[in-house]
């Protein structure tokens, strides 16, 4: 039975309760909500500084289930994967193999300051689920550039007329090269696909990596209600393809319509300054990466 044939099981219970400290229109609480619906309350979240860790604690703790708070620890910045490995080892030593130990970290904490830690945890195949919620910049501190920021984007440290002129770091390729048991990309626009991948991660063991695109209202500059739509456009334009890597096999889980990237770009203020030629350049890059992914799907990653 392949993983797609396993029925999706998730609870009707809610684990994130308003009021939380996330911005109106933020995609991260949606991701947390669906993630926890699959894992349930037997979970410890290790959260480095970022959008998530203060926002689930202020203005008051919001990760709550039936009056009990979900376990979370606010770790130092580059240390979520490290702490998670330590917590997991301690739980195993104490006879608890059931609790899912989860690092819940942003793109800065994953692709930049914590990359060595993520790579090392993957290499040691630590028994944790590592979630990278990717809003493509240091959004918690006010939209400063990270290595996850895409080409052509303006940020508060790439002010116009000098937008970012470097490509986004391809974290999935880096992670897959570690030959870990399970890795996948997730979108808040596709709940079934999202939760199925969390379920697959939960069923697997060893180091599991989930990469979630979480559009950011303030940093990406779009109307409050468009977060999910932009997530969907990212998938449909092949900017953020949905796939999973399990064993040697890479599978596309949502076949994109192949809409022009312009549809994704023109709803975001951070791209507003781009010329037609620059948008075409992005389209070329997206097509190139999609073809590379097709190659991997065909021949496997290893």
């Amino acid at each position: 039975m392949t993983t797609t044939e396993i029925p999706l099981r998730y609870t009707k219970e809610e684990y994130i309760q308003p009021p939380h400290g996330f911005c109106v229109g933020c995609s991260i609480p949606i991701a947390l909500r669906w993630f926890l619906k699959v894992t349930g309350e037997k979970v410890i979240l290790l959260m480095p500084p970022g959008c998530a860790s203060p926002s689930v604690l202020f203005p008051k703790p919001s990760l709550i289930h039936q009056g009990k708070r979900i376990k979370m620890v606010a770790t130092p910045f580059g240390s979520a994967a490290i702490f998670a490995g330590g917590v997991k080892s301690a739980l195993v030593a104490r006879g608890d193999t059931e609790t899912q130990v989860v690092a819940w970290a942003g793109d800065g904490a994953t692709l930049d300051i914590g990359l060595a830690a993520v790579s090392a945890a993957a290499e040691r195949n630590e028994g944790i689920i590592y979630v990278c919620y990717d809003n493509e910049a240091y959004q918690n501190t006010g939209n400063q550039r990270s290595s996850a920021t895409p080409w052509g984007v303006r940020t508060t440290t790439n002010p116009l007329p000098k937008p970012k002129m470097e490509y986004k770091k391809d974290i999935m390729s880096i992670i897959i090269a570690h030959r870990i048991p399970y890795a996948a990309t997730l979108s808040t626009a596709y709940p079934d696909d999202f939760m199925r991948k969390v379920q697959n991660a939960k069923r697997s063991s060893g180091f599991r990596f989930l990469h979630i695109l979480t559009p950011c209202v303030t940093g990406w500059q779009f109307p409050l209600e468009l977060g999910v739509k932009i997530s969907r456009l990212a998938v449909q334009t092949k900017v953020f393809p949905l796939f999973e890597a399990e064993g040697d096999a890479i599978t596309i889980t949502k076949e994109p319509k192949g809409l022009p990237v312009e549809e994704y770009i023109r709803v975001q203020g951070r791209y507003r300054h781009l010329t037609k030629e620059q948008v075409d350049m992005i389209q070329n890059e997206v097509d190139k990466r999609w073809n590379q992914l097709q190659y991997l799907v065909r021949y496997g990653s290893k």
Partner: protein, 408 residues
Amino acid sequence: MIKVITGNEAAAYGALLSRPAVVCAYPITPQSRIPEQISEFHAQGLLKGKFINVESEMAALGYVTGASVGGVRVFTATSSQGLAWMHEGLHWAAGARLPIVMANVNRPFGAPWNLTCDQIDSLAQRDTGWMQFYCESNQEILDTVIQAYRIAEQVSLPAMVCLDGVYLSYLSESVDIPDQTKVDEYLPPYDPQFEITGGTWKLLDVHPPIKGGYDLFSPAGFMGDRYELHKLESRCVETAVEADKEFYELFGRSYPPVEEYKCDDADLVVVCSGSAVGTCRQVINSLRDKGWKVGLVKMKMFRPFPKELVRKALSGRKKVAVIERDLSPGQCGIFFQEIKWALNINHKFTPIYGFVSGLGGADITATLVEKAILYAMEKELPEQEVIWLGLEEKKISDDYDRNTIKIY
């Protein structure tokens, strides 16, 4: 069982006998033998816990911090640059009140690179909230690791066991390795009952709650946490004294936080820490034979600073001479600074002579210690904050140099 082992191996034996569930380390000269030895214990099945090679010192401390959050006994070891790489995590572990024990092999920071001995690495971490113990011999290293768990778990605070690079880490001495059963009697299993709830988690027995969340919008709360941390000082010292007493009863060896050696009628007391204490003992013995009223105070505990014990040992002496292997550049030696503060606050003035010596592994020889004592005897008051002891003789180059007190 008596074995001839290095200081690094003694630290590893101390850890083994304390039965940690998780041990992590990252190699660094002159500490590398500690993780090697522990991995051998692990491979032989002697160490029942988990041993993990991690990717950096930040990870070594972070991993054991995570494991400590999970409620098990942990051990790690580092040195110098590695300790600096852990700096953020040191603050975190102490703020979270986790009873981690770590061996630190004292070595200076580069540049320029130096792989030998200097206590600046751990002294520079004095404001992190960790307890610090400095060892004189390999036997003391082994015994102190065991004692450190006892103290750390009782006060819920991390502890650093410091041993001099090269002088202790690499040199072999005969060490009595205690029986596991006796150590188990001294150090009961660590099994705290944890209750983790968003951001703050509690040890359900005698310990105070451990903090792992935020105190962002409640400065009063944060200040209260720091107050708790600060007021632990006297409790830490009392616990250390008590832990040492019980250790003596079981094992017949004692290492008080502040040790007074031949101090009863001493007019001049030398203060020292680490491996150079042995040399100082020898000098004190020979000067005593000549009828000089000199004594020695060994600073075993540096954090929290055992100020009452320091005052008891040194207050009212005619002269105090601090000989130390560290320097806060542009100011003075760190032990000197702290002892001077402890003695001269609300107390009658005690002349204190601060000798900086043995930096970067230079020898603190018996001759140098004697010269320091002679200087302090001769001068009514110290002429400067720093008296350079054992500086390599150079041609005087300028007025600053001419005016600096140096004993070659």
